[in-house]
Symmetry: C2
């Protein structure tokens, strides 16, 4: 076994909020915070690939997860380093051996739904039918734990609004919480973070990348086709949202047996698909309002 070679990442820091003076309906000037939004142009081996608009909290993990979710690289070990410089708004990705057929892989364009990933390289739908999701369950108590953990989280959303939040849970344990102006960026950042973790298979043979099989993905945004597909690609079989679902998101989730839960606030939720993965404990739901 050769040792795992994780990429070197900078930790570029930039303010996440910005103060502006606004005028309200009474004609009063008031200072408020608004979220940052920055352009980050990604260069792979000195070749310009794409410009991402981001809050800027975890730019290196965002770029890593973007390359992963766009299926441009197959392993985290293919990347030698990601260097972000906010002074010029650039992320320089250095690969160990280049990316095969990058022109071909970036040729097909899909402008996806709303807050979904703005654009995907290649056709994610083609992959869907080959995905096999692991058996995994979530209890209603754990679901309430997840909703409560999100509620308690200090966030840019609370101070400045106008951002989406995504999180990864193991049961009801919060592993990582990411906010961005686009929820596609937030999920990509989580994908990048998962790749940077190592899990021991045996004490001497660690494996690069955290698996999704016993994880739950949370998003404040809607469950569009793209969010469902990305979650499945990351191997995460259960997705929870504060918001609703679209028809294509629902169809894809049903096809691959992914459990989708939406409108999750306080004790309320709707389970749209994969109901067999949710262990109902309806006595926890409280009194029914009729």
């Amino acid at each position: 076994m050769s040792p795992i070679k994780l990429p070197r990442l900078t930790k570029a820091i930039a303010p996440l909020t910005h103060e502006v003076v606004v005028v309200n309906e009474h004609g009063e000037a008031t200072p408020i915070s608004i979220p940052a939004e920055r352009a980050l142009t990604v260069y792979v081996d000195k070749r310009e690939l794409v410009t991402l608009m981001t809050l800027g909290a975890h730019p290196e993990l965002l770029v890593l997860g973007f390359l992963r979710n766009q299926r441009l690289i197959a392993s985290v070990q293919d990347i030698e380093s990601i260097t972000v410089d906010w002074g010029v708004g650039a992320a320089a990705v250095k690969t160990r051996a280049g990316i095969d057929n990058i022109e071909e892989k970036t040729a097909k364009r899909v402008v996806t739904t709303g807050c979904g990933q703005g654009s995907v390289f290649g056709d994610m739908m083609e992959e869907v039918d080959s995905l096999v999701l692991p058996a995994a369950k979530l209890t209603q108590a754990q679901l309430y734990g997840i909703v409560n953990a999100i509620r308690l989280k200090e966030s840019t959303y609370k101070s400045a609004g106008s951002v989406h939040g995504c999180a990864l849970f193991k049961g009801e344990e919060l592993l990582i919480f990411v906010e961005d102006v686009g929820r596609h960026n937030a999920i990509d950042t989580i994908a990048g973070w998962m790749w940077m973790q190592t899990e021991p298979v045996t004490p001497v043979t660690p494996v690069a990348g955290m698996t999704g099989e016993d994880k739950v993905f949370y998003t404040t945004g809607r469950l569009t086709s793209e969010m469902v597909i990305k979650s499945a690609q990351m191997g995460v079989p259960i997705v929870v949202s504060r918001s609703g679902i679209t028809q294509m998101g629902h169809e894809v989730a049903q096809r691959i047996g992914l459990c989708t839960i939406g409108r999750a606030t306080n004790k309320h939720f709707l389970c749209y698909s994969g109901q067999d993965r949710l262990v109902f404990e309806t006595e926890l739901a409280g009194v029914k309002l009729r």
Copy 2:
């Protein structure tokens, strides 16, 4: 003067909502409506350009506005026809004389913020500084009229949730209201609709396309850089949102003197930029809560 030649558009119809059975927190199965989400692949003169994910309410106007807002065509008269067939999920665009340098125009990619246009061809920011917005004002009473008109609107959002709404107003008169799973689609559809209108300059010389100078653009979504830029490109100098603003949206709006108003619900709002365009009538705001 040669007569205006508007493109021929099909009127492809598909259901906007879909009924599914969900299970709630009490373990009860209930039917609910969710919004449709469809893939529409755009072919320009038989060449595949892009796939848009859309609710599907006005696919022909969406495609027309997409081509307009991406700056792929300069005039509505450059298009001979747009034919949408939901059976195959395709929109066939026939131009009168082709699109010059289409490869070059579609080479640069920006994945924009969240619900913003997923991807833009070319660099919209480059154009921003050349934009000159017309003098236009909105009174606080008109603003309240806009918020109220939106509130009263029957919509897919009310029946199924999970869609964004955009609208175009002249003063407080609602001209068009569009919903889509992505707000970038909704604004593109409005841009397409504006191009299909004709305004008489003199009774004998009509002009293709409605101008934006005396219009107000409304969106349920956030005012990201892209939404601000698109509004400015359409010549609309005042934008109202139910949601907030990002730092780049704010900076761009200030630079070009665009009036941005957010958090507009009931009597409350915040004016982020271009305050000189808003005629305050603070006596309409009611009693201040302290």
